[in-house]
């Protein structure tokens, strides 16, 4: 039996705005199993990053519960959170802005080690950082460099090393390669994959890049306007997306094959504002199969025979 590392129950995060509450995360139920790579895809503004920040307790949830290794961490306060930070860490999207330009690589990487008392003296810190750099395929001499002396790929390696420094069980990767070129992207993805095996990690990727999520994940969740609309094994969803939004989203992705073209406009219209989301199913205004029930009642995630869950009112989902 594989343990569940993270579980959320009816997790909500609303932001107060002048026009009313912005429902960024709206009742998300999610289970992440130990050792898996979970990929969350969705378009910008769908609440991916907010969901992750809420799970990490970087922002307070509005309601709902978060469990880490079966323990309810929803109401954890400062001191308890310190212990939490050693279990989960985060790699940011833009390596150029997530590193302090006035700190050397050594300073950046020694911070988490010192804060969590993981090393006793400078020498131990040095040894630990050398190990981290080696794991990232970098040299000890990079320790004295400043971020501006590193390339984009190297900066992101430092970002990953910083997340690894506290020896976490779970790493959230928020669009880790979207600021990098394709050739560098491959290197970083392979490095992350290798590190996962060496350190026995669980990964939670967030990305808008569907092809990327496909390559790295075991299971994926598709998010639309604060809710998960489809979740299940990656191959199942790729080969046969069921939710109308998933279908449209996947059909919008240009394939790198000149003989396969996108047909027409797979998804018409635009994402509605999360400040005033539609009453029933949030996808109803753009959905080609919309029925009267869709406009009134929010669909819940239903378990299908192949093990995936889909939130749609349509009968005989296939």
């Amino acid at each position: 039996m594989v343990n569940t590392i993270i579980e959320t129950k009816d997790l909500k995060k609303y932001f107060n705005t002048l026009k009313g509450p912005c429902k960024a995360v709206n009742k998300v139920n999610l289970k992440i199993k130990e050792g898996e790579t979970f990929g969350l895809v969705g378009e910008s503004g769908c609440g991916k990053s907010t969901l992750v920040r809420t799970i990490l307790k970087l922002i307070e949830p509005t309601s709902g519960q978060i469990f880490l290794d079966g323990v309810d961490i929803t109401d954890y306060k400062k001191k308890q959170l310190m212990a939490l930070r050693k279990k989960m860490s985060l790699v940011f999207q833009d390596p150029h802005s997530s590193l302090n330009p006035r700190m050397t690589v050594f300073d950046t990487l020694s911070r988490p080690l010192k804060i969590h008392n993981l090393t006793k003296n400078n020498q131990e810190t040095m040894i630990e950082i050398t190990k981290l750099l080696k794991l990232m395929g970098m040299q000890p001499e990079h320790m004295i460099r400043f971020p501006h002396e590193l390339s984009g790929g190297q900066k992101q390696r430092i970002g990953i090393a910083r997340a690894l420094a506290v020896k976490p069980e779970l790493i959230f990767l928020d669009e880790p390669t979207s600021a990098l070129d394709v050739s560098v992207q491959t290197k970083i993805l392979k490095l992350l994959n290798k590190t996962k095996k060496i350190r026995d990690l669980t990964y939670f990727y967030i990305s808008h890049d569907i092809n990327l999520i496909r390559v790295v994940s075991d299971r994926i969740g598709v998010m639309y306007l604060g809710q998960i609309v489809e979740i299940g094994k990656v191959d199942l969803i790729y080969n046969n997306p069921i939710h109308p939004y998933t279908k449209g989203l996947f059909a919008s992705v240009p394939e790198p094959d000149p003989d396969k073209k996108i047909k027409g406009e797979p998804l018409s219209g635009e994402v509605p504002s999360p400040v005033n989301p539609p009453m029933g199913c949030s996808f109803a205004p753009r959905c080609p199969f919309v029925g009267p029930k869709c406009r009134e009642e929010k669909p819940q995630l239903k378990l299908l025979s192949d093990g995936r869950r889909v939130a749609c009112h349509k009968d005989n989902l296939k």
Binding site: V182, N211, R214, V216, V253, P254, D257, P258, L267
Partner: protein, 320 residues
């Protein structure tokens, strides 16, 4: 098909505090009339500089060291600033940029911004201008056109802004459109809508497009012909099908095979060793040689020239 644009051995250098950056060191490609021409390469390879050079919109520290940009039998590099502004920019060649948010003026309404370009070439009454703007906005399939006219850019979404940019450029009826990463800031579903608009325009108005991007999937979706650029030089000019089926230059090969989606297993993705060279001090000979597995002595000393290896297929490599 006839040629619309012919770039011949274009060299552009930049003076910087650190030294002279040799951004373009011999760019060669031709664009046929009515074709969708893709220009691809990684960050910093000179794609955007090439686009800007065609319109002569480069910064003051840029030096055009040599080469020719022949547009309809005229060398644009010989034109003065005044001639460029009067005869070419907008009405012959137009450009749309990467970030639609920052290329529209936030304090003018959509109508003001679109009719500004019309006013430069056409005298008309207020109502006529309004009608022209409405026509243009309809061409890019924007919903509720009348309601849009008096809105400001911040009231529009990214996808809508990018369509307004196209409408603005269409208003002058250009023959060549240079699109510099127009969908990088957009979501995939909005990108699909945008590409659809471009395809329709091409069919209806027989427009020629130079599409600058790093996204090979988009290239396969809309381009007919592709120029692959590496560190300021074109390494391969190739029809789009050939690029995906049979990329010849070692860099093109690696690039195509590092695209997610061509390969669906992480282990099968190709890596390119090393990193992109700094163009202040570029490698001698073929600029790709330090990262190339097949490099020999000649690659280090002699610059490879583009040579024909198939129908419409040109490659700059000593080893091919």
């Amino acid at each position: 098909m006839s040629k619309l644009l012919d770039i011949n051995d274009l060299k552009v250098y930049f003076n910087t505090e650190e030294g002279v950056v040799k951004a373009l060191a011999g760019v060669n490609f031709k664009i046929d009339k009515g074709s969708f021409h893709g220009l691809i390469g990684e960050t910093g390879c000179g794609k955007s500089v090439t686009g800007l050079s065609i319109l002569k919109l480069l910064d003051n520290n840029a030096l055009i060291e040599g080469g020719k940009i022949i547009y309809k039998d005229e060398n644009l590099l010989d034109k003065t600033e005044k001639q460029m502004q009067r005869d070419f920019r907008g009405n012959e060649i137009a450009m749309i940029f990467q970030d639609p948010g920052s290329s529209l003026n936030p304090v003018f309404t959509i109508q003001d911004q679109i009719q500004e370009s019309v006013k430069m070439y056409k005298k008309a009454s207020k109502q006529e201008y309004r009608n022209i703007v409405i026509e243009e906005l309809k061409k890019v399939k924007l919903p509720d056109v009348e309601g849009l006219l008096d809105k400001y850019p911040h009231q529009l979404s990214g996808g809508m802004k990018q369509r307004v940019m196209i409408a603005m450029m269409l208003a002058c009826n250009p023959n060549l459109l240079i699109a510099d990463e127009p969908t990088t800031a957009l979501d995939v579903s909005i990108q699909a809508q945008f590409l659809q608009v471009l395809k329709n325009l091409k069919e209806k108005f027989d427009m020629t497009v130079l599409y600058i991007t790093h996204d090979l999937a988009v290239v396969s979706e809309i381009c007919d012909y592709v120029s692959v650029m590496y560190a300021g030089r074109i390494v391969e000019n190739v029809p789009v099908r050939e690029l995906f089926k049979n990329p010849i230059h070692p860099y093109s090969y690696k690039l195509v095979h590092s695209v997610l989606g061509v390969k669906t297993l992480l282990e099968n993705l190709e890596e390119i060793p090393g990193s992109v060279p700094r163009l202040i001090d570029p490698p001698s000979g073929c600029r790709f040689h330090p990262r190339c597995e097949e490099a020999t002595d000649i690659c280090k000393t002699k610059v490879p020239q583009l040579k024909k290896i198939g129908k419409n297929h040109y490659v700059a490599c000593h080893r091919r």
